[in-house]
Amino acid sequence: MQYFRLLRCVLAVCLLCVGLVAPAWADFYVVVQSAHPQKSLTQQEAVALFMGRSRQFANGELAIVFDLAREAPGRAAFYLALTGMTPAQVNSYWARLMFAGQSMPPQALPDEQAMTNLVKRNPNAIGWLSKEPADKGLRTLLVLKETAP
């Protein structure tokens, strides 16, 4: 018994250490205004919106996509989870489209607070957060599991 108690202690310490050293596997949340008619979103639809293929929601409403700043923590992980591409690949993708001058990447916001505020106010806005939104004014349409880089 005593042996078991010791093992449990060691395990707990280990877990604590891991939690302190490496950031825990986090999920990403694609969010819209809570008043938005759309209830959910497939990953494919999310990719189409975030990568400039589509500009409207399922009901035909205009969709304005917002991104976080390039240096924002978790952005690389978000795009990896969403498209399977590294930030460099994503940049390259946008560079090709921008080269033709037709498409533009989503507008970038400085931080998740700004994202929360903007999406809460704009009925056409769609954005993403690295934490589950605590604000009642937001609705999560898609949860992306973080994948290994």
């Binding site: 990719v47 990568m51 400039g52 293929r53 591409m85 090709r96 489209l97 033709a100 037709q102 498409s103």
Partner: protein, 528 residues
């Protein structure tokens, strides 16, 4: 030996050039065809590869453009592709078959190049297809240019190679051989001149050829010299022998197997007393020349069989216009192992033979009457006696004694007596048969006659005896003296009836003669 010229255009140099040129042309043609084909294939393949690479290179961007439905981006991309000279037409087709965008519209039979465009996000989800139609004429032109370059290169290389080959062959092989052939043609056999060899060919096969030829020429020249010396020697020897042959006092001749004359020295014709022309044209030598050809042939056969030198004295046939019988000593030799020819040597021995014959004649004949003398008569009688015994053939022996000869001799002298004896002798010869019978003088006025084949009862015996009496009894006309007469007493004996020896027979005949003398002379009496 006539020098064999080099036919125009058939020389080594010309032929090497022709062969090299022909070979090169053929090779170039073949290689050119292959090069053309390969070049064409390569160009087509290259173009296709280029287009595929191009398509692959723009695939990501096209995917982006298609995914983002960015026709401007796509348009620029397609413009870029269509600007490629090898591209006739380029278009993007969705998976549903809808053409999103198209550039160029050239019709071409070349196979379409399809590059699938995958979604940039969905892992292997096909989004659309990029279709490139190669521009056939431009590809063909490109391929032709490439093939032409390749063929020209091949041709150039082949021509260079041929030139090099020709130059090397000419300098190493054909030119030295041509020079060699010319030098050899101008070379006179037997001269000390030799073929030159360049330093370049000193140690190769051409050099070897020159050295071997020179060695051969040396050997040939030496052989020639030796042969000349030998020939001169032989000629000198032959001249010597010919002089001996020609000048020899003996007649030398060579006969063939049939006894015809093959060769004779001048003297043989002198000895024979005939011209060469006559000897050669008148049939067989042996038949023409010798009095008894059979003996000559016998001699030849003997020489052939024994393989030895044989000789004999042979009488020559009477030559036209020649005087008296002629004799030769003939030496025959058949060369051993030949069996074809016979060599003969003739010595004229007529003189010796005639003196021999004269001596014999003198020994056997009475010098006054030319009748057989006593010894010869005895010998003849002996022969007849022997014959009469052996062959049982009788013969008659008549002893004759002249009557009244002593008185004539005493009265008129020896000369008249001799004349009487000579006349009686001639008369007796006129009575008997010349070939077979004997008339001999035994001495003084005694004579003997022998009749071959005549027995005691032979009618010829009486006839001859009577004729002898008559012939002897004819008067003899002596100049300055007038006519003189002698008679004859004849005693006859017949062999073998009256005796089987000469002595016996002579004795019987003598006795009969004595009877005649006693009973009155001038008669004949047969022994009883």
């Amino acid at each position: 030996m006539t020098p064999v010229g080099v036919a125009p255009g058939r020389g080594l140099g010309a032929r090497v050039m022709l062969l090299v040129l022909t070979g090169t042309a053929l090779f170039t043609l073949l290689a050119g065809l292959v090069a053309w084909w390969l070049g064409y294939q390569h160009a087509v393949e290259q173009n296709r590869h280029t287009l595929a690479s191009l398509a692959q290179a723009v695939e990501k961007t096209v995917a982006t453009g298609v995914y983002a439905r960015d026709n401007v981006l796509l348009g620029e991309l397609l413009d870029g592709l269509a600007g490629n000279p090898g591209v006739a037409r380029v278009l993007v087709r969705t998976m549903q078959g809808e053409v999103l965008l198209r550039r160029g519209n050239g019709g071409s039979k070349a196979p379409l190049l399809r590059q699938p465009v995958l979604s940039p996000f969905g892992m292997h989800e096909p989004l659309a297809q990029l279709e490139l139609l190669p521009d056939e004429p431009s590809i063909a032109a490109e391929a032709r240019a490439e093939a032409l370059r390749l063929t020209a290169l091949m041709g150039g290389v082949a021509a260079l190679l041929a030139l090099t080959l020709y130059a090397v062959t000419a300098s190493l092989v054909s030119n030295p051989i041509i020079r060699l052939a010319r030098a050899l043609q101008q070379l006179v056999p037997g001269t000390p001149l030799r073929l030159p060899v360049s330093a370049w060919n000193q140690h190769d096969e051409v050099g070897q050829l020159v050295h071997s030829t020179n060695a051969l020429l040396d050997a040939h020249a030496q052989a020639l010299l030796r042969e000349r010396a030998l020939r001169a020697e032989v000629e000198a020897l032959e001249a010597q022998y010919r002089r001996v042959f020609d000048a020899s006092s003996a007649g030398i001749f060579v006969l063939d197997r049939e006894g015809r004359l093959v060769h004779g020295n001048p003297n043989v014709f002198t000895v024979l007393g005939r011209s060469e022309q006559a000897v050669r044209t008148q049939g067989r030598f042996v038949d023409t020349v010798f009095a008894e050809p059979a003996m000559a042939l016998e001699l030849i056969d003997a020489s052939r069989q024994r393989g030895q030198v044989v000789f004999a004295d042979l009488a020559l046939a009477a030559a036209p216009g020649g005087e008296g019988p002629r004799w030769v000593h003939c030496v025959m030799s058949a060369p051993a192992g030949d069996g074809q020819t016979v060599e003969g040597v003739l010595f004229d021995i007529t003189k010796r033979k005639s003196s021999e014959l004269a001596a014999r004649y003198q020994a056997e004949h009475d010098s006054l009457t030319a009748l057989k003398n006593r010894a010869a008569s005895h010998a003849m009688i002996d022969r007849l006696v022997q014959e009469s015994i052996n062959d049982d053939q009788p013969f008659a022996l008549l002893l004759i004694d002249l009557d009244g000869f002593k008185q004539i001799n005493d009265q008129h002298g020896h000369l008249v007596g001799d004349q009487v004896l000579t006349t009686c002798a001639q008369a007796m010869l006129g009575v008997v048969r010349r070939g077979s019978d004997l008339v001999g003088r035994l001495g003084g006025d005694e004579f003997v006659v022998a009749l071959r084949g005549v027995g005691s009862d032979h009618p010829l015996l009486d006839a001859v005896a009577s004729a002898l009496l008559a012939a002897i009894g004819r008067p003899v006309m002596v100049e300055g003296v007038g006519e003189v007469w002698v008679g004859a007493s004849i005693g006859i004996a017949v062999g073998p009836r009256h005796g089987r020896t000469r002595g016996e027979l002579v004795q019987r005949a003598d006795r009969a003669l004595y009877e005649v003398k006693a009973s009155g002379k001038n008669a004949y009496v047969m022994a009883c």
